[in-house]
Structure formats: C-alpha cells, structure tokens
C-alpha cells in the first residue's frame, strides 16, 4: 500500500533520514519503533509532504507522492495524526472535526461521518461545543485521531500517539487503533512505546539514527531488546 | 567637486548613520519603526548646544549623542521584553509621540539680538555654526565622512569581537542564545543604546548642514526608509545599509530627468530585489563567502 524507498531527508546539511525503506501493507498495522531523534517524525513529515526528501521515492497505491503538496496527499487518502496532537485549540470540537473534512465537498456525507465519530468517541460528543484547548490530553488525542479520520483516509499515519499520556489513556488509544484497523483502516504508526505498539502491530521496524536496523514481525525479536533499542538505540549505534 | 555632488554625498553620509542605527537593531532581530526619533533628538540637542549656548560643534555633537543614547536606553528598558510586531509598534508610538511633542515645544533664547531655538511647528531655525566658522561645504563633507568611517571601523571591530558574535547569535534565535547563557535582553538594550546614539549623531550633523529642522521632517517615512536601507543593502555587514542609502539617494539624483517617476521605478526594483535576495544584496551568506579564510 505504502512503499518508502531509500528516502533521504535533510535539514540543511544534517541528514535526519539516511536512506530509509519501509512498507505498510493494506489492512495491517505497521509500526516504526525508535528512540528520540532517530528520524520518526521526519519520516512522517516527509510522507505527508511537509518536508521534501533529497532523494528516494514514496509510492502510495502505486502512485508517487514525492513532489505533491500536503493537501494533494490528503486528497489521495493519507492522513496524519501529528505528534503532540496539534488540535485547533480555539475552535470547538465539532469545528475541529469539520476542518478535518475540509477537502470533502458533500455536506450530507460529512454530517454522517461526524455522527459516526461521535458514536465512536462518545466523550467528544459530550464536548462537541467546547473549545478543543480545554480538553484533557487523552481527549485531545482522540480528537486528533477523529479529525484525521474525517478526511476518510485509506492509510492513517500516527506520530507517537502515546506521547505524554497516562498509561490508562495509552491503553485506550491503542484499543482504538486496533478497533479502527479491524474496521478496515490501514495504519502506520511510529512510536517509542514498544510494549504497547508490539501488542497491536502486524509488522514492525526499528529505526536508529536515520537508518532502519530491523524489520520483522512481533516475536521475532525479544521484547526486551526491542524496548531497549526503541528507547535508547542499540549500543553499536 | 561641484556643490551638487557635495550635497548628495553629505546626505548619503548623514542617512548612512540613521540607516546603521536601524540596521544594528535588525542584527539583534528587532525591527524599529522609530529611529527617526533619536535622529530628531540629536538634531535638536546638538542645535541647541551650538546655536543657543555657543558650544563648539564637536561638543554639541557629543551632547546630541549622549541625549540620543540615553533616550535609546530609556526606551529600550520598557520595550525590550516586547518582541516582533509589538516592539516595532512601540518604537513607532514613541517616535510619533516625540514628533508631536516637538511640535508643541517652544524653547527660545535671545542670541545676539535674535530669538533662536525650537519653536513648535515652526521648527528650529538658525543653527549656523558651520557657516559662522567658515567651514566650507567640502570641509563639512569631510567631517561627515570622517565620522562615518570611524563609526564603520568601530562596527567592524565589534563584528569580530565576542559582543558582535553574541549579537548575531541573539538575532538568529534569541531563545536559543539565552539558553546558551548569552544575556540576550542586556545585549539588546546595549545595542538599542548605541543605535540611539548613532541616529542622534546623524541628526546632529544634519541640523548643522541644513541650519534648520522642523518636527515634520521626522515622520515615520524617515524611519521606515532607514529600516529599508539595511534590508536592501544587506544584513550581513555594516556596509549593507550604506549600500542601500547610496542606491536610493544616488539613484534619486542620477535619475533626475525622471525624478517624477523615481519611486515607481525604485519601489518596484526593491520589491523584485527582495524576492531574489530576501536578506539584501550583501546578506550573511555572501559576506561569509567573501571573508572565508580570513581570521
């Protein structure tokens, strides 16, 4: 579904991704695990068109995404739940969701999806008129997920959904991830929380210092080692 | 040298000091719409010193610089915690206040049977030290450019010093610089003080060239021109604002036949230039390339 081939992305002279190749399969949950600064967020921003890679290709359902604008990429069916949630704090919950459906034109379908989101996330329904900035961290994360879903993506990208959330909330978020996947959404998420990610992932990668250092299914590598490398990177670096 | 050329070169020298004043603040990352206020203060202070109290010119200029620097310091204290647009508008408010107060200010003395001194909107006439002392236009041009060269030399020395490097770091990213232990706020206040003094120096020289100023001269137009010179010429070196002044005033005089269309041509040219070089002709990257290898 998504094929990232030998992508190099740099900030000035500094290469944050040094030739990364990963793939996300249709209908599956794929995880990319790695420590801070390994290039996880850079990869997400490159796939969504916020950053331009120096070289490499990104194919989604066979079509090249490199060179497209973020808005064109959303229109093709790839949506990102950004790191730190990034809701629109001064807009109501409902308006946040409507903004997520910005590129869609049929009001009736949007309204139906809005109802569906409120069904899936009842807490958002309770707070529909409230400004998003007043929500708790967990609620904002759910809003960010729901907002991304409002664009009807075929592939949902998630950047560290567990960041800064209490363990119970993290569990709930991952329960939702698994649920969304069961309902047919393909998911590609980057995480540092290997313990939770390995529970839901069908396939996972390790990324360390801008390079992919492992690819396999959960169980192929001892969880302790994965956790160790996802938090700190391997010793050989 | 003909009188016309002397006049043009004198103007370029004066405006260079004002442009350098705005440029200094740009280097530490602040936009000022208000340097013309210090230019005005310098003009009034130096003019009062020489015309009303008979001080010699150097002492008068010095008095102007002191007043300008003190005012720069006094304005910097409350405004330095403002950033971006808020700082720019605070400087604008200060400069307009100053101009409006000068429009009300009457401070006259009898000198040799003549009433002299600031007279509200009428302005301040009779600052004749240069003429009374038979300093020729060419001689005064020499004074102006002597001072500009000294100022430039001092700025170049500073540029290479620790303070210069610290200023560039603060200008690039004040928060980062502060995190690295640089006293960003204090540096900015220092720079604002120096900038106030520099603008006042230009003003002091200006009033003695023109013999006459009025508050109307010091509107926001003057200040934004000064700001624009730095960006046109380039933020990378102290020569940048001077290049900007030369281009504008030089072009104004060179294109006298089409002077009526000057701003139409020049305004458009500046807009196009900034598309190509958003940090001016002599920007930081070019300056770095030119000086690479030198200590």
């Amino acid at each position: 579904m998504l094929r990232v081939g030998d992508v190099v992305t740099a900030y000035g002279q500094l290469e944050a991704l040094k030739g990364v190749s990963v793939a996300a399969e249709s209908g599956k949950i794929t995880c990319l695990l790695g420590p801070n600064g390994a290039g996880k967020t850079t990869l997400m921003m490159t796939v969504t068109g916020l950053l331009k890679p120096k070289r490499g290709s990104i194919a989604f359902e066979g079509q090249e995404l490199v060179g497209l604008s973020p808005s064109e990429i959303v229109a093709r069916g790839v949506a990102l739940v950004p790191e730190n949630r990034l809701v629109f704090p001064d807009m109501s919950v409902r308006e946040n969701l409507e903004a997520g459906a910005y590129l869609r034109r049929k009001p009736a379908e949007i309204a139906a999806d809005l109802d569906r989101m409120f069904e899936r996330f009842p807490r958002l329904k309770e707070r529909a008129g409230q400004s998003a900035g007043t929500l708790s961290g967990g609620e904002q994360q759910m809003l960010a997920v729901a907002r991304a879903l409002m664009s009807r993506p075929r592939l949902l990208l998630m950047d560290e959904p567990s960041l800064g959330l209490a363990p119970l909330i993290v569990e709930e978020i991952f329960r939702i991830v698994a649920e969304l996947n069961r309902d047919g959404t393909s998911i590609f998420l980057v995480e540092q929380n290997a313990h939770m990610a390995l529970k839901v992932a069908h396939h996972f990668y390790l990324i360390e210092q801008g390079r992919v250092t492992f690819s396999g299914s959960p169980g192929q590598l001892a969880e302790d080692e994965v956790i160790q490398r996802a938090y700190l990177g391997s010793k050989r670096g | 040298m003909d009188e016309f050329l002397i006049g043009v070169l004198s103007n370029i020298g004066l405006m260079s000091l004002l442009a350098l004043s705005a440029w200094l603040l740009l280097v530490v990352g602040e936009i000022s719409f208000g340097q013309q206020a210090f230019f005005a203060l310098g003009a009034y202070a130096a003019g009062i010193a020489t015309a009303l109290y008979g001080w010699p010119l150097p002492l008068g200029l010095f008095a102007g610089v002191v007043v300008g620097a003190l005012a720069g310091f006094a304005v910097a204290i409350p405004t330095m915690r403002l950033t971006g647009l808020a700082f720019a508008i605070a400087t604008l408010a200060f400069a307009e206040l100053m101009r409006l107060l000068l429009q009300l200010w009457v401070f006259q003395r009898e000198v040799d049977g003549e009433r002299l001194g600031p007279n509200a909107v009428e302005g301040f006439r009779g600052v004749r030290w240069v003429y009374d002392h038979d300093l020729s236009a060419l001689g005064y041009l020499g004074v102006i450019w002597g001072i500009v060269v000294v100022v430039l030399a001092a700025l170049f020395l500073c540029e290479r010093s620790r303070i210069g490097l610290a200023c560039r770091a603060v200008g690039a990213d004040a928060e980062l610089a502060e995190a690295q232990g640089l006293p960003a706020a204090r540096l900015k206040i220092l720079v604002a003080t120096v900038a106030g003094g520099l603008a006042a120096l230009g003003g002091g020289l200006y009033v003695h060239l023109a013999t006459y100023v009025e508050p109307q001269h010091f509107s926001i137009m003057l200040g934004v021109h000064a700001l624009a010179y730095g960006l046109i010429g380039g933020l990378g070196t102290a020569l940048g604002p001077i290049l900007g002044v030369v281009l504008d005033i030089g072009l104004l005089e060179a294109l006298q036949e089409i002077a009526r269309y000057r701003m139409i041509v020049f305004g458009g040219a500046v807009a196009v230039l900034l598309i190509l070089r958003p940090r001016g002709l002599l920007d930081e990257a070019l300056v770095r390339r030119l000086t690479r290898g030198k200590p």
Binding site: S71 | P78, R260
Partner: protein, 289 residues
C-alpha cells in the same frame, strides 16, 4: 457630563471605521503573520479611483464606493503577488520592507495621475444633524457606523459559519495542523489578504464620504490609525481589533475636546505605548483570550 456623552458618541461613530482598518491588519497578520505596510496606500488607490469616477464620470455614492472597493482589491492583488506570495514564508521582514517600497510606489502613481491636493468624494448624507436633549447626531456618521457594524457582522459570520472562515481560523491558530487537514495556507492567506483590502477600502470610503473629500495623506493616516487600533486591542485578536478601534475613536474625541486638537494624537500614542508595556504586547493571533 453631556460633553463626555457627546464625545463618546462621536468617538464610537468614527471608531467603527477605525475598527475596520484595524481588522484589515489583523486578518492579514493572523493568517500570514506578516505586516502589510502598503495597506494605507492600497486604500488610497481605491479612494482616488472612487473620486475619479465621481469627478470624471459623475458617479454617485454607491458607484464611487464600488469603484473604491474594486480598485483597492486590485491593488491588493498586486501587492500580495509581488510582496507576499513571491517571498518565502520565513522572509517576513523582507515582505514588510517590500510592501513599504510598494506603498511609496502606489502613492507616487496616485499623485502623478491626480496631482491636486484634494479631490471631492460623494457625501454620505447631507441631512442636518439630529438634536435631542442637548446631544447632536450626524446622520452621515450614524450611517458610517451602521455600515461598519454591518461589515463586521458579515465578517464574523464568514469566519464562524463558512468553510473558508473555518479554514482561515485553522491556519491562524495552528498552521501545521491546518496543512495536515489539507488546507493550503498560501491560498487562504491570499484570499484573506484581498478580503482585508476590501474592508480597508470600505472603511476608507466611509471616512472619505463623511469628509466629502480625500487627500494624498489619507494612506499614511489610515495605516497609522489601523496599526494603533489593532495594537490597542491586542495584536492579532479579532474582537481586540473592534474594541481597539472603538476605544481609539472615543479616546481621540475626548482628548480633543478636553485637551485640544494638538493633544489628541499625543494621548493616543501615549496610551498605545502604555498598553504595549502593560500587556507585554503578546501577539495572540485570532485566539479567544
């Protein structure tokens, strides 16, 4: 007391127009985080076009206002393309200086084409002031305030209730998240820029119609009033721009009455400086706070 009430009424009337000018700055600043110094000159171009249509073609009030709006938006398009869209996002100082250069350019074009000191603009209303219990109310000023209020209400509705308004608020408050939702900040910014120029043109037309004339100095005057009003209410805040505009009008008319005309602007700038100092001049683009 009666004086105070009368001054406040007068201040609120002109304050409505100030608020529109302030909104012109706030709208652009919120979405683009940049300052358009050519704003006053753009308004001036529109007013000169309106005055020309009045003089040469004999157009009436509505025709002149329409010409003003059309030319202000056209001049805005020129400035937006040349000074804002063509420059990288990071080059905000360059955009500001560039718009300053174009301010000079537009003003010179206007002065070349129409070199007289003043030009007549169709009057808003020539009806006599209404008198009531010692207070007087000029119908043209009342009309100006009413139109300004209507324009603000329409703007509020656009921002709250339309897809464009939603996108604009998203860009103003969280540009990165907006891009991830498929909103293109550059396009929204351009549209908002033109809308701001239209509002500026309307404000200018109202003021010129109350004065029945326009001079070349109007551009600079409009820019200063807009900037001051925007800053008084809190840089970037939309309700702040409205409050700032009204406050500036009321302050000016009272200062002029009690202290004299020469103190009017001094009080306004002094207060502006104090407000910046006191509120620490934080920029809060479009937030509710």
């Amino acid at each position: 007391m009666l004086d105070l009430i009368q001054n406040t009424i007068d201040g609120v009337m002109i304050g409505g127009a100030y608020a529109l000018l302030a909104l012109g700055f706030t709208l652009t600043f919120g979405v683009m985080r940049r300052l358009n110094l050519a704003f006053g000159a753009i308004v001036l171009c529109g007013l000169y076009a309106g005055a020309a249509a009045h003089q040469a073609l004999g157009w009436g009030l509505l025709g002149s206002i329409a010409a003003t709006l059309a030319v202000a938006v056209a001049a805005g398009l020129y400035v937006e393309r040349l000074c804002f869209r063509a420059l990288a996002e990071s080059a905000s100082i360059a955009a500001m200086v560039s718009s300053f250069a174009i301010w000079m350019q537009l003003e010179e074009i206007a002065a070349l084409l129409m070199p007289r000191r003043t030009y007549a603009y169709p009057a808003l209303s020539e009806a006599r002031p209404w008198e009531w219990a010692g207070l007087s109310l000029r119908p043209d000023q009342l009309a100006m305030a009413a139109v300004a209020l209507g324009a603000m209400a329409a703007l509020g509705w656009t921002l709250r209730r339309t897809r464009f308004g939603l996108a604009a608020r998203a860009v103003a408050t969280a540009p990165l998240a907006a891009r991830l939702a498929g909103i293109e900040p550059a396009r929204i910014g351009s549209a908002m820029f033109l809308l701001a120029c239209g509002l500026g043109g309307l404000a200018g037309a109202l003021i010129a119609a109350v004065d029945s004339q326009v001079t070349i100095k109007f551009g600079m005057w409009a820019m200063l009033k807009g900037l001051v009003a925007m800053t008084l209410g809190g840089i970037g805040s939309i309700p702040g721009a409205v409050i700032g505009g009204l406050a500036l009008g009321v302050i000016e008319s009272n200062a002029q009455w009690y202290l004299g005309a020469e103190w009017r602007d001094i009080v306004a700038y002094g207060l502006l400086f104090a407000v910046l100092y006191w509120r620490r001049g934080r920029e809060r683009p479009w937030t509710n706070s």
